[in-house]
Structures are given as structure tokens and as C-alpha cells.
């Protein structure tokens, strides 16, 4: 902050002798300087932010490591960053981690995939057609408020202990954000855009396709982001509940057998996966939404 200001003063001082230039030119130059100053500040802020978060991160892990090495906490219960890393390498090299990640990934993709395939049309239909909304709203809100894990025993009875029961739980966890967001999207279509469509002779179907769908994209992205997070919770919950593979199972089993290092490896992998999903969707959102950002 301070150094930034100092640099600027020096720059304007150096600029001083060239006062005789045309005023437009001077103005132009000033604007350029404003912009570069702005950019520099932004970059600085960015770096500062990163440095700060890295510092916090490193400190926490260092304290953890120190605490467990000095015996301040019992390594048996708390593990330590170095132990987690070593265990992680071990689990990767013997293929255990890959096996569980693949198993969870399969349940996740199937569950969230079918939530998208079913949830988006259900949300669109309930939002677009008033009578569909009236017919299905009570059912949807009943499901929406129920803790989904409560249904897991039912799914196990129906589908057995295999993949299907887990997929069903993930589906049920991930579908509601999509339904609700698409519903809201359909109910919030700008009347002015609709009027343009009507004035140019659009049929109901054309109104839906050319006005409702494109304007629902931001809502869809919000729905996807929420549903992908909920889906992940669903996967872990389902695997902790029953079954013999997947990251949830790994964590549950390792916890029960006091392999605290393994639990942390599982947690780190899940967290990393969550961050990747969320970030890539956020990136995708800025790409798709670029027509909004270019304003003014």
C-alpha cells in the first residue's frame, strides 16, 4: 500500500516536465496511469490474499505436526500431517485408494447423472405448467424436508446392499436443488422478453425454447453446483451406512479399526474432489454467463 503510493508519486514527478503537451494527450496518459495503477493494485491484492491463506494453511499443519511429535496430543488419536502423507502414498501404491475412489466415483456419477436427467425436466415442468406444479408440489416439498438418509434402510431392502441402493440415495440427495432452481427459473422469466416473443408470433413451445430455457441457465448452474455438493454427501453417507467399498466405507472401516491416518487420507481425497467439482463449475459459469459480464 505504502510502497505503491510512493512509486506513483515518483512517476508523476518524472512526468512533470512534459506539461506542455496537448491536454487531451495528458488526459489520455493520466487514464493509462490510472488503469495500470488499478491493475497493479488488483494483482497485489490477489497475491496478498494468496500469501495469507497459504500462511494460515502452513501454520495450522505445522502446529499439528509439532503437537503430535512433542506428545502434546496422542498420535494414536490425532495422527500427523507426515503420517497422513506416508499413509496416502502407501494407499496409492498398493491400489487401495484407486479401488475405493473408482467405486465412489461410479455411485456419484450414476446418482448425480440421473438426478440431472430427472431433476431438470421435473423442475422445468413444475415451473412452466401451473397444473403440474399444483399436482406435484406437495409431494416434492414432503420429500424435500425429509432427511434422505432415513430412507436408506428402505433402499437396502428394495435394491440390496449393492450399487443401486447407494445410487438411489445419491439421486434423492442431489435432485432437489435442481428441481427447485429450475422451478424458480421458469417462474421468474422476464415478462418483457416474453412479450417480445409473443409479438413476433412465438408459439408456447417457441417461447419456452427461445426465452425460458436460455434465461434459466444461471439458475441451472446454481442448481448443479448445489446438487453436486449434496450428491457427494449422499455418496459418503450411503457408503458409511452399508456396502464394502468406496471412500465412505474406507473412512468408516478405518475409523472403527483406529487407523486414524487412513481416515484423514479419505477426508483429504473427498475434500479435494469437492473443491475440483466446485471450481470447475464456477469456471464454467463465468464462461457461459459472459454475455452478462460484458455490460457497460
Amino acid at each position: 500500500m505504502n510502497s505503491d503510493a510512493a512509486v506513483l508519486t515518483k512517476k508523476s514527478f518524472l512526468d512533470a516536465p512534459s506539461r506542455s503537451r496537448a491536454s487531451a494527450d495528458r488526459q489520455n496518459n493520466a487514464t493509462c496511469r490510472e488503469i495500470s495503477r488499478f491493475k497493479r493494485r488488483k494483482l497485489l491484492d490477489h497475491l496478498k490474499g494468496h500469501a495469507l491463506s497459504t500462511a494460515v494453511f502452513v501454520t495450522v499443519f505445522a502446529l499439528w505436526e509439532i503437537a503430535s511429535r512433542t506428545g502434546l496430543v496422542d498420535p494414536m488419536f490425532s495422527s500427523s500431517p507426515s503420517a497422513v502423507v506416508l499413509t496416502g502414498i502407501e494407499l496409492i501404491s498398493d491400489g487401495t485408494l484407486a479401488k475405493h475412489v473408482l467405486a465412489s466415483g461410479k455411485v456419484y456419477v450414476l446418482g448425480v447423472g440421473s438426478a440431472i436427467v430427472l431433476g431438470v425436466p421435473i423442475g422445468v415442468a413444475t415451473g412452466w405448467f401451473k397444473w403440474v406444479n399444483r399436482a406435484f408440489s406437495p409431494l416434492i416439498s414432503a420429500f424435500y424436508t425429509m432427511p434422505r438418509i432415513a430412507l436408506m434402510p428402505v433402499f437396502i431392502i428394495w435394491f440390496g446392499l449393492g450399487t443401486s441402493a447407494k445410487v438411489a440415495l445419491v439421486l434423492l440427495s442431489a435432485i432437489f436443488p435442481l428441481i427447485v432452481n429450475m422451478q424458480v427459473a421458469m417462474q421468474n422469466i422476464d415478462e418483457e422478453y416474453k412479450r417480445v416473443g409473443i409479438a413476433y408470433g412465438a408459439t408456447q413451445w417457441q417461447l419456452f425454447r427461445t426465452i425460458a430455457l436460455p434465461s434459466s441457465v444461471p439458475f441451472l448452474l446454481t442448481g448443479l453446483r448445489l446438487s453436486m455438493g449434496r450428491g457427494m454427501l449422499g455418496v459418503i453417507a450411503a457408503e458409511i451406512f452399508g456396502g464394502a467399498e468406496g471412500l465412505g466405507y474406507l473412512i468408516q472401516y478405518a475409523g472403527a479399526t483406529f487407523q486414524i491416518d487412513v481416515v484423514f487420507v479419505g477426508v483429504v481425497v473427498i475434500a479435494g474432489f469437492g473443491v475440483i467439482v466446485d471450481r470447475s463449475l464456477a469456471y464454467f459459469a463465468t464462461r457461459v454467463d459472459s454475455w452478462k459480464i460484458t455490460s457497460s
Binding site: E192, V196, G197, A199, Y200, G201, Q206, P214, W291, S295
Partner: protein, 310 residues
């Protein structure tokens, strides 16, 4: 109400006719048709025949009902108005007097309580390809580029994209947007957005172009240059235009006739012919007739407001 208005149009009736009506030369942009023994032939392949006038509004009444209280507001009271093909007619009146209501009724967006509207002999009860509206707010679809906004109306008629774009090219030039086809509306100035709005309507080649205060939201300088541009566009296309404005000088500059609406409920207070020579340019503002007519319109508006007890 939307559902009723948006019912499927009987497209075959005039759908295909609005495909390429003239060659790409650009020279023959909708030439005024010659009268054929009392009947008029419209300049498209359909050659729709009708008894003039092009627009006939008879005893139109528009009343709004408040959704909750049921209170009635009469916006338009028994207005009759004829517009001949190739005429540029402007409605002026105080804000809130019922101009937009009248225009929307002609557009088929608002239902009349009684009276009739016919365009080229066909009764209006919903939007149709024989009319196109330029809204006061540009209301461009923000997720579409300039080009895709302009071809929107054609797309709705099922005209293939390639063909629609080719056709739109002429109008992109006409409204001077060449080079901006791939921009999104958010990146355009207000004046440019309004040109896209205009091109979107023109490209559908309607018999009747409806403009609702198209320049009201623009700053004074942009507005004046847009007025001159509209004048130039009209000189080239000779479209039949019904425009609404509250700018008296704008009305006199552009129109063959200025209709003055009384305060709400709207009635026709005067129908003033603007006998300034065509083709016009902005220079016409210095014509003494321009000043005379402007004053005339102004006086009628003042009189009509004075007479009506609120």
C-alpha cells in the same frame, strides 16, 4: 392471456410469402404498389389483395380491469383511424393518455373491449407477421448476439438460419450496424440497441411497422441522429408506419399525419396533415411549414388538456 395470444399462428396463410420477396439487389426494398382498379396489391409474393386502407381501426375501446379490485380504467375511448399504405402516421399525446394501449391493440398484444382493427383486410386479434413492433425499451435478448437478435422473428417463422442471416445483412447495413453482428447487446450503447430493435422489426418485412416511443430513452443528441436515420430508412423502404411519441418536433419531422390524442381516455383531438416535401432530411426543421405545424400540434394538445376535467 399469454396462452391465448401465443396460440399457433395459421402460418401457411402468409408464412412462406415472407421469404425472399425481392432479389438481394436492395434496390427494390418494398416499392409502393400501384393501385389496381380500386384494390391494392402488397409487395410480396403472396400479392395479398385488400380494400384500402392498409390499417382500419373502427370505434376501438380499450378498458383495463384491476386484477384484485376489479376497478375499470378506460384507456382508449371509441377511436377510429385509417392509415393508407406508405403513410407515416404518428400519435402524440400526454403521457398516460392511452397511446401505448392503442398501439399494442394494433399489434395484437392487448385485447380491445369493442371495435375492430383490420390490417390489409384481415382482422387483428393476435400478433402476426403482417405487423412488427419496435418497443420503447430495446428488450433485446441478452444471450443472443446482435445478428441472432435481428433474425429472431425470422427464426420463429422457421426460416433456415443461413437464409435468415443473408436476409438480415441488408438491414444490418440499413441501420449501420455492420461490424457489430457478433456483439452481445450488453456491449452496445442505447442508440445501437435501439437500431438492433428496429432492424429486428424491419427484417420481418411487415406491412405495418409499429413504433412505441422508440427514441424516448435516448439522450437528446443520439435521439436527433436516430430521427434522421429513421427518416433515411423510411426514404429507402417507404414502409407504412404507425408511431407513438410525446416529442412534437419528432412527430412533425417524420410524419405525413400527426394524430393528437386527448388525455385519458384517449380520443382523437386532431388529425393534422404535415405537408412538408418528401424525401425529407433534418434540414426540414428550418422550413417555416415545420414550425407552423409544430405550433399547431402544440396548441391542440393544450386545448385538449384544458377542456378535460380530471
Amino acid at each position: 392471456m399469454n396462452e391465448i395470444l401465443a396460440r399457433e399462428l395459421e402460418a401457411p396463410a402468409y408464412g412462406p410469402a415472407l421469404l425472399f420477396s425481392e432479389s438481394e439487389s436492395g434496390a427494390g426494398l418494398a416499392e409502393p404498389a400501384a393501385p389496381i382498379a380500386g384494390r391494392r396489391k402488397l409487395p410480396d409474393m403472396m400479392a395479398r389483395q385488400y380494400e384500402p386502407p392498409l390499417l382500419a381501426v373502427k370505434d376501438l375501446v380499450i378498458t383495463y380491469e384491476h386484477q384484485k379490485t376489479g376497478a375499470q380504467t378506460e384507456a382508449v375511448h371509441c377511436v377510429s383511424l385509417d392509415i393508407e399504405e406508405g403513410e407515416f402516421v404518428t400519435i402524440v399525446g400526454l403521457s398516460g393518455c392511452g397511446k401505448t394501449s392503442f398501439l399494442n391493440a394494433v399489434a395484437g398484444l392487448v385485447k380491445a373491449v369493442s371495435g375492430s382493427i383490420t390490417v390489409a383486410g384481415r382482422r387483428v386479434d393476435r400478433p402476426g407477421p403482417d405487423r412488427a413492433v419496435v418497443f420503447q425499451k430495446a428488450t433485446l435478448l441478452p444471450w443472443r448476439t446482435v445478428m441472432d437478435n435481428i433474425t429472431y422473428g425470422l427464426e420463429l417463422r422457421g426460416i433456415p438460419k443461413q437464409q435468415a442471416r443473408q436476409k438480415a445483412g441488408r438491414y444490418v447495413d440499413l441501420v449501420q450496424l455492420r461490424g457489430f453482428e457478433h456483439f452481445h447487446p450488453a456491449a452496445l450503447s442505447g442508440g445501437m440497441q435501439q437500431r438492433v430493435n428496429l432492424a429486428r422489426a424491419l427484417v420481418t418485412e411487415p406491412y405495418l411497422l409499429l413504433l412505441d416511443e422508440p427514441f424516448a430513452a435516448l439522450d437528446a443528441i443520439t435521439r436527433e441522429s436516430m430521427q434522421h436515420e429513421l427518416l433515411a430508412i423510411w426514404n429507402q423502404t417507404r414502409k407504412t408506419v404507425l408511431m407513438v411519441t410525446h416529442q412534437i418536433d419528432e412527430a412533425v419531422l417524420l410524419s405525413d399525419r400527426v394524430i393528437v390524442f386527448s388525455p385519458r381516455p384517449a380520443r382523437i383531438a386532431a388529425d393534422i396533415r404535415i405537408n412538408l416535401p418528401r424525401p425529407r432530411t433534418g434540414e426540414v426543421r428550418f422550413d417555416p411549414v415545420f414550425e407552423q405545424r409544430t405550433k399547431e400540434v402544440f396548441d391542440v394538445i393544450h386545448q385538449s388538456t384544458g377542456q378535460v376535467v380530471p
